[in-house]
Subunit: 204 residues, 2 copies
Amino acid sequence: MAQLDSLSEGARRILSIAAPLFAERGYTGVSINEIAAATDGSKANIFHHFPNKEALYLAVFKSACDEFGTELKDLADERSDNDNRLQIIGKQHLLRLFSKSDSVRLILREVIDGESGINRSLVAEILHHNFGTIVEQIEEEQRQGRIRDDVNPAMTAVTIVALNMFFFQTMTILEQFQEFRHLDSPQQFAREAFEAIAKGLLVK
Amino acid sequence: MAQLDSLSEGARRILSIAAPLFAERGYTGVSINEIAAATDGSKANIFHHFPNKEALYLAVFKSACDEFGTELKDLADERSDNDNRLQIIGKQHLLRLFSKSDSVRLILREVIDGESGINRSLVAEILHHNFGTIVEQIEEEQRQGRIRDDVNPAMTAVTIVALNMFFFQTMTILEQFQEFRHLDSPQQFAREAFEAIAKGLLVK
DNA sequence: GTCTATAAAAGGATAGAC
DNA sequence: GTCTATCCTTTTATAGAC
């Protein structure tokens, strides 16, 4: 939020319209012209609010980081009793990805093709925090005796994050595979996958 | 290979130089100018070999699909007896990703931001074939009694692919996390992750 | 804060010589 | 097959009025 508040109304409007465009097609894939058209405004007005295209992109990116960094309290307690603990943790994370998909896409872009610059360490920080939250949840479950003691929390967290990012990125393609025809939502997808890995991780 | 043979020497040279550029920065991120400079040649020569930029990109992309589609026989039997079967399957897949990283990146780009066009079904086909190979390997292990009967081969394959794609994409960032400081290669990384999931999937 | 007009550069693509 | 020169369009960015 820090930097978002310091922006004017008009600037924030531009930001929110540019975000999904950059998220979908990346920095070079979107022109100021196009953003101006999307805002029903002029190019010059965008350059009034931001010194140049890169600054606009950076503002969009930082605001995506802010958004992704804030917690989702509302989703936290939507747990069904049929699910095991790992499934709950995994499902929450997946819902988070989909509910903030533009921000996630923007951050993912930097992960994948970011030059090793300032953005990259910002990304590392965000991811590490996000990752740490999941590790903590797993450790808590271990203390409660609901996940086996001998599993490595960090590696388990990696598995959860990896599966969810994979679903997030390939959903539209996986849907076409016969093997998965019976699954009609990412949630159901994730449920089956976590069920598979959980078999070995839970206390029996 | 099919389409690669039909190209002239000069065209193939351009292709091979353009590939890593497109892989790293995407279609809109690379200009014909830049490709020409990288080939030490002229823009006009590129347009002599390819009707337009899109055709060049498509040729690069198809050739990436060809390369990724061909099997890696040489890596197939580098198995250490300390590893369990899932680790071997996973490690092979990961080595494949890294040894063909430009092609993988190009294909991943289409997965992530491809418009739903011809490329997309090509990508789906490639991924499905790749995926099918892993499923078959797991089923074979189940027949041999080395992996439990009650695990879903498709879901297990998804987990392997997801973990490996995640490593491939985030390697340079994960390296910065303290939790993983002791891991100095993707292989070691993958080994630990698969060890974690394998605990529940192998016959005991 | 927002606009129109315009500059300056880069990008995709073509013509025509060698 | 490869080049130089050129064209047209798009893009980033600025100047200056309202």
